[in-house]
């Protein structure tokens, strides 16, 4: 993985009870779930688009893509706005944002093989934090893999 991990602070969030982490540097903001405009015909993990202060933001729910069940929204649900560089960003629907933690990346382990799950394509490593596994997510990889142009 890349130099981006030099800053070892991560935001952790939950998806279906699992803990995921993305580098703090890549997070633009965390917002409440706004009114989302559906995009009929879009891939199933695209929940829709929103107007984020004049900019169009695509909201994705990766649980489907990761082979997890889609969870109903709760009061803890949030959208994590991840910047992808070059003015691009994507909104990730999560069940709840937990905390900002410093993770000791030297102790990271490769992701255990998860059968047919696609997760292994997007995340390479897990790190233990307080004895609980945290999955390191590479959002750019997710977007590269699922974007329309690469799917078509």
């Amino acid at each position: 993985m890349k130099e981006a991990l030099l800053d070892n602070r991560f935001i952790t969030f939950t998806l279906n009870g699992e803990i995921y982490a993305i580098e703090v540097l890549k997070i633009q903001e965390v917002i409440y779930i706004p009114e989302i405009t559906k995009v009929p015909g879009a891939p199933s993990f695209v929940v829709g688009v929103i107007n984020l202060r004049g900019i169009l933001l695509t909201i994705v729910d990766t649980s489907v893509e990761f082979g997890l069940a889609r969870q109903p929204g709760t009061e803890y649900s949030r959208v994590v706005v991840v910047s992808l560089g070059q003015d691009e960003r994507v909104g990730l629907l999560v069940d709840g944002v937990s905390e900002v933690v410093s993770l000791d990346l030297s102790s990271r382990e490769p992701l255990p093989t998860l059968g047919e799950g696609k997760l292994v394509q997007y995340a390479y490593h897990i790190v233990y934090n307080d004895g609980r596994p945290v999955i390191l997510l590479d959002m750019e990889r997710v977007v590269d893999a699922v974007s329309w142009s690469s799917a078509a």
Binding site: E35, T37, K38, V39, P40, G41, A42, V46, V49, I50, N51, G54, I55, L56, L57, T58, V60, L84, E88, R89, V90, V143, V146, S147, W148, S149, A152
Partner: protein, 677 residues
Amino acid sequence: MAFDPHSEIFQDFLLEAGELLESLNEQLVELESNPEDSEALNAVFRGFHTIKGGAGFLELTSIVELCHRSEDLFGLIREDKLKLTEAVMDPVLAAVDELNVMFEALQEGVEPEAAPVTIIQQLEAILNPSSVAEPEPKPEIQVIAETRGEAEADENEDISEDEFEALLDRLDGDEDEVGGASGTEFVTDVLLKGDPEKEFTEDEFDLLLDTLDEETVEVEAVAAVTQVIPESKAAEVLPSEPQSAPPTPPAAVEKAEVKKPKQKPSGKTPQHGKSESSVRVDTRRLDDVMNMVGELVLIRNRFENLKQSISSEIVDRTISDLNLLTTDIQEVVMRLRMQPVRKVFSRFPRVVRDLARKLNRKVKLELVGEETEVDKNLVEELADPLIHLIRNAVDHGVEPLNVRMAAGKPAEGTVVLSAEQEGDHILLTIKDDGAGMNPETLRHLAVKRGMMDQETVEKLPDRALYNLIFEPGFSTKKEISDVSGRGVGMDVVKTHINQLNGQIDIDSELGGGTTIAIQVPLTLAIMPTLMVRVGSQVYAIPLPGIIELFEWSFVEVGRVGGREVVRLRDRTYPLIHASELLEEPQTHSAEQRVLIIELAGHALALVVDQVIGQEEVVIKPLGTLLRGMPGYSGATITGDGGVAMILDIASMVSKRAGGDFLAFSEFSGLNGEEIAA
């Protein structure tokens, strides 16, 4: 001067020389077809000269090398010492191609590599037919080492003729305002003509110094030169003293002397021609302004929405003032971004020329309406599809020479590319006088490719058949040429045009030629749409395709071939439910409307749940995830701050309804007969 891609001078050079290079392509082809055109000849000569000058100043030696020789070559042609033939043109065009590559490198901030030896040799061979074998020493003028300034202390440093001239050019450029017979030019003349009669007058010398400003390198250069003049006659300065360099043959120096006075005035002309009332603006700033105007339009729309809840005359009036002003600003800003289509058109004569030569055909490209202006972004977006279509016209349209002769047509084929404005659209047509398309071949192919069955195909009007070539996987050319596509081309062109909210249509006459018409909106940023509700969401449908609007109760639904159709105003349209396309439950209400939408060659009736009204929307690009998704041409922010997707009906329908929709809509005789008649 070190290579610094961020310096202002460098950027200016890129911009100006880049434009010159672009027009060179066109001028060269023009010149080739019309060698007597002295204006074109001069323009080409000047073009090379000016690029060379700038490149020399920036020490871009590889560019200087190419320009220098090309310029010399056209110098000879101007003096009638050389005839402009294809043999001459080919290496020059190769040099221009190479220059283009170098400019691309420069634009990325990379110093270009040395010019390919083969091109230089070819040019040299034409310049000096006798001395091809021996390596030609570069004509050099030895000038005192100080001229280089402190940057290079090497005593033996030579200033090549090019660099020297570039230096002088630069000075020329700087003293434009002073005008008249300038000091520097005078120096040049004295120096290069070696005219011993001329003396510097005090005034001229002062004038010269006045013009030089703070640019120390230049001041030093000229000061050094001027010092020499009073003592020794200029002629003595000229011949380079043989140092370690190979001896310069006198011929080379003579050549330089002869040419110089002629080059001077020509090099300056473009600068004089420039109008002072125009300003160069970074396009990014224009884009910023455009974005802000977009936001302004949105706020205007929001006010329009508010107007309904606040009923007060004064509010109404203020809003309508705002409305007027916003529309004006929008219009003005749009104009700012307009550029003549010449910018893309100018590349095509070269494309046609090269291709025609490769295919051994004679093809002339006529450009009509190059002045037509469209949005800057659109100009760039149009380049690729147009190149493809033009190549196609030359490759598949215009017949080989013998076929043309046999058919009694003039040996030279003609492709006409024209542009004209039609309201808020621009219409581009590419018309060739070639073989045209054979409907029977197309029918045969359509069946063979499994696109439709024999029966359907036979009922298909010719016009609809022609449009089949825009379908994926359909190519009429039997053998695959490396020139135009493998049947992947035309559908890509169509997709591209559709993405620009444009439409493409084709007509052909067997033996008479093919005409392709492209209609695109003048601007990409703002689009008039009809806002409609489908299910719980609001969508925007581009207004240009919408022909008519009916109440649902007015419409009678029939069935043909397992599909719903409606008959309105004596025409039958396939009926599409927007709710079906947009995955919404089908409902019935009094608010439902039927829109008649016509899209390049097809028409259909679309049922929506409610028509909200007409709105000019600002198109926001879809993010990475959804970009390129068929069915939408973008999204926009609505008056209430929400998001409305902009529907691209053509791609949405063909995606959802599958390939048979096309055949079906044609089969129902929507427009076929009318157009054929």
